[in-house]
Structure formats: C-alpha cells, structure tokens
C-alpha cells in the first residue's frame, strides 16, 4: 500500500503527474482552486496507488511526497 501527499498550495495544475501515473488515478480537482488560482491535482482512489513515485518524479514543483 502506498500513500501520495500533495502539497496543494504549490500545485500549478500543469497536469504532468496525471500523464505519467500508470494507474491513471491522478485527476485535476475542478472544484477547488488554490491561492495561486490553479485547480490542484488530487487522487481519489488512493488504494490503487502502487507507490511508483512517477508522479513525484515528473512534478516540476515538488508538490508530491510518496510513502510506501
């Protein structure tokens, strides 16, 4: 089991993490907007995460922390 944490305030909504997740579980949260004005990335089905950290590796803003 793995856990991915997003430091939402840092997210710029670039969507790169969504493109590399092998499980395609990262989505952009269209409902919320952070103080910078971006819709942050988020995970709804965390249990599907395999902790590969691809999302973190590609994130240009060090938004993501991964635990396994």
């Amino acid at each position: 089991m793995a856990k991915v944490t997003f430091n939402e305030e840092l997210c710029k909504g670039c969507e790169l993490c969504t493109t590399v997740c092998p499980k395609k579980i990262i989505i952009m949260d269209r409902e919320r907007i952070n103080s910078k004005g971006y819709h942050p990335a988020t995970i709804e089905e965390m249990d599907k995460c395999i902790g590969c950290a691809f999302c973190a590796i590609i994130c240009p803003d060090v938004v993501i922390e991964v635990e396994k």
Binding site: K12, I33, G37
Partner: protein
C-alpha cells in the same frame, strides 16, 4: 469626468486587452488617453494589471496612484488595489472568483459574477467584456459603440464573427449593475 483606472487580474483573464479597448475607444472619441501595463517576471502566473487614463486634459504621468475606479478580476487584485480607489470612487469586483466583500465603505463597490455570466454566454473568455460593460454603465467613460469600434480594429476582419458575442457580453455587463 476624467477616468484614471486600474484593471487587474490573473494573466490570461484579458485585463490588458480590456484596458487597451477602453483606451482605444477613448482615443476614437477624441480624448487624451494612456495605457500602461505592469510588466516583468512577476506576471508569470501571477497578477497582471494596467492603468488607463481617459481625460480631456493633458495626460501627465500615466501611472494611476489614486484611481477613480478599480476593476479587480481576482482576489489578489482586490487586496492590492482596493485602497487606491479615491474616496467616492468605484470598485468593481469579479465576484465569480472573489468571494470576499470589500472593506472600504467610502466608495461605490459593485460585485459582478463575470465568469458565470460569460459561461452562460458559452465562453468564459468574455468575462472581461462583461465586467467592462458594468464599468461603462457606472461611468459612461466611453460609449459602447466606441468599444465595439475598437474591438473591430483589434480583431480584424477574420474574427469579425466574434463581435456579436462580445456585444452581448458588454450588454449583460451593463445590465448587471445599477447605473
């Protein structure tokens, strides 16, 4: 009355072009005008703004330090520029993105849900025209026709088909506030 206003918002909200349209319209009406953008790296993703002056007098400094009106398209803009409105002046807030009320009580504050109205018209990008409509309704700074005239100049003939949508957005804006 001379207009010295600041239009501010996120990059991409069309604040710069809104200001230019207004300035162009003022010029078409034979007034003295200036437009001054903020520039620099802070624009990157951050807040951008421009200062517009439309007056019968000569334009001295194009910088607006004491505004007759401020248009705030997002929260950081309101926080930054609310205090620059002259007493008795006007603050127009894009209430679609700003869910806070202004602190000032000595000025006229209008809340326009510009993005929602624009969405209703089927194109979020005309939110700036909506709010411009509200501004014109309040100030009569220039006529709507002059705005449309300038818009034609800016868009060019290839995009003439966008005129009706923009005219509609302007109109919805004027209707959104009391004169």
């Amino acid at each position: 009355m001379a207009q010295e206003l600041i239009i501010s918002g996120f990059g991409g909200q069309g604040v710069m072009s809104m200001g230019q349209l207004l300035t162009y319209a003022g010029m078409l009406e034979g007034k003295n005008v200036s437009w001054l953008p903020s520039y620099g790296p802070e624009m990157r993703g951050g807040t951008a703004y421009c200062s517009v002056i439309i007056t019968e007098e000569m334009v001295g400094s194009p910088i607006v330090n004491e505004a007759t009106a401020v248009i705030a398209m997002n929260l950081p803009s309101m926080e930054r520029f609310e205090r620059t409105v002259n007493p008795g002046g006007l603050l127009i807030v894009n209430s679609s993105l700003v869910n806070k009320k202004a602190d000032r009580t000595d000025i006229d504050v209008c809340y326009v849900p510009a993005n929602e109205i624009a969405d209703e018209l089927g194109n979020t990008r005309v939110a700036n025209m909506v709010i411009l409509g509200a501004f014109l309704q309040k100030t009569r700074a220039v006529s709507e026709d002059s705005i449309i005239e300038s818009l034609k100049g800016v868009l060019g003939s290839s995009k003439e088909h966008l005129i009706p949508l923009n005219r509609e957005a302007l109109k919805r804006g004027t209707q959104s506030v009391n004169p």
